[in-house]
């Protein structure tokens, strides 16, 4: 096991990444019964389940490190908005199908690169779980990549809506490469990768697909930030209210 300070930082890190996945999974689940075609309904529900399952695994490792007898459900259902450490991109409302696909594509790319590096982590429990997670992400990344190509070279309307989604979401992409204040310490110990290299790889792989479709990366200079420190958009509170109401109304219920 590691020294106390590393464990505390690792706990923070795992919660950040798990929060991303839990909130994104919840957003995706909102498509259940509403997707444009049946196959997509099944796909988005499956991807939602993958994300929530991955969040669950990461929370389980986190609570073990924390060693305070908290369960993964307590982290998910009994923390308030300011205690969530997810990046803001995942909490934005699901929008239209183009918006959801653009977000998945950008996030899946990031998540894939991150978990690929996590497979080499010095923290053995993280590397073990990552080997499983990275396979799941790669399957989902193929799905979102295919849709970006289809929408980007599809009709005028699909191209227009997809570009509109990219323009709207782009300011939220930079936050993916921030890990609050835990990063330097854990990078030195070879527990997490350097995020700068992930950012470079991410930009390359996103650009490669966009170039095949005439979709453009917007030229903006302002980027949102703050999620890793508990600052969120107004949307997260509403999402948590819906997600947590049952657990909070019946705190110790078993079923």
């Amino acid at each position: 096991m590691f020294e106390k300070k590393i464990e505390e930082n690792l706990f923070q890190l795992l919660v950040q990444i798990a929060d991303d996945k839990l909130i994104l999974g919840h957003r995706l689940s909102e498509w259940c019964g509403h997707a444009p075609i049946l196959e997509e309904d099944i796909a988005l529900a499956n991807i939602a389940l993958d994300n929530i399952g991955q969040a669950n695994s990461l929370y389980q490792i986190a609570v073990k490190l924390e060693n305070k007898n908290r369960s993964e459900d307590e982290l998910a259902f009994f923390r308030d908005e300011r205690e969530f450490r997810n990046i803001q991109i995942v909490e934005l409302p699901k929008g239209d199908f183009a918006f959801t696909i653009v977000r998945q594509f950008l996030y899946d790319n990031f998540s894939f690169l991150l978990f690929q590096k996590f497979c080499d982590s010095n923290f053995i429990e993280l590397s073990d779980v990552s080997k499983k997670i990275v396979k799941e992400i790669s399957y989902n990344l193929r799905h979102s990549k295919e849709w970006i190509l289809r929408l980007g070279i599809g009709t005028e309307e699909s191209k227009f809506n997809t570009q509109k989604a990219i323009d709207k979401i782009w300011e939220f992409t930079n936050e993916m490469f921030e890990f609050g204040n835990v990063e330097n310490f854990l990078i030195e110990k070879n527990i997490i990768p350097n995020l700068d290299t992930i950012k470079t790889d991410w930009e390359l792989s996103v650009k490669k697909i966009f170039d095949n479709t005439n979709l453009q990366i917007p030229n903006i200079s302002y980027f949102a930030s703050g999620g890793r420190n508990g600052f969120h958009t107004e949307y997260l509170g509403y999402l948590l209210a819906e997600m947590q109401i049952v657990a909070r109304s019946n705190p110790n219920v078993k079923w």
Binding site: E39, I42, I47, L49, D128, K132
Partner: protein, 156 residues
Amino acid sequence: MVKKKVFEILSQVFDPEIPVVNIVELGIIKEVICENNSIEIKISPTYSGCPAMNIIEDDIKFQLQKNGFENIVVTKVFSNWTTELLSNETKEKLKSYGIAPPNRINAIEINNEKKIFCPKCNSSKTNLKSKYGSTACKSFYYCENCLEMFEYFKET
């Protein structure tokens, strides 16, 4: 041996979503530790989000208790589960149940595609209809020969 007996009992526990394959054959039992009067079973989910895990955990406890065991702990571990753990015999069971068994991961690709054979008529004239299916471990195919939809257990 106690361990042997435990494995026999675990072979009576089935994945509720694929009721022809038991959890030992599925490769999700990672370790069985028998010490003094307690038993610890380590299980690993096939996919992170597998919703059957809690039911499987309850079934393991139920079956062991029914056979007189006490102090049973089921621990979840997150190992790199792969369909390579499925034996040919297990794959046959899937096939006769109507689910096309997973290809080997290094199976030969033809035109960049791995051939998926229809579990009903063995035809290779099949098309992917949906990458995602009723559970995380399956996708949907259509057979051009017998004109039936079938599920394929994805290789991973």
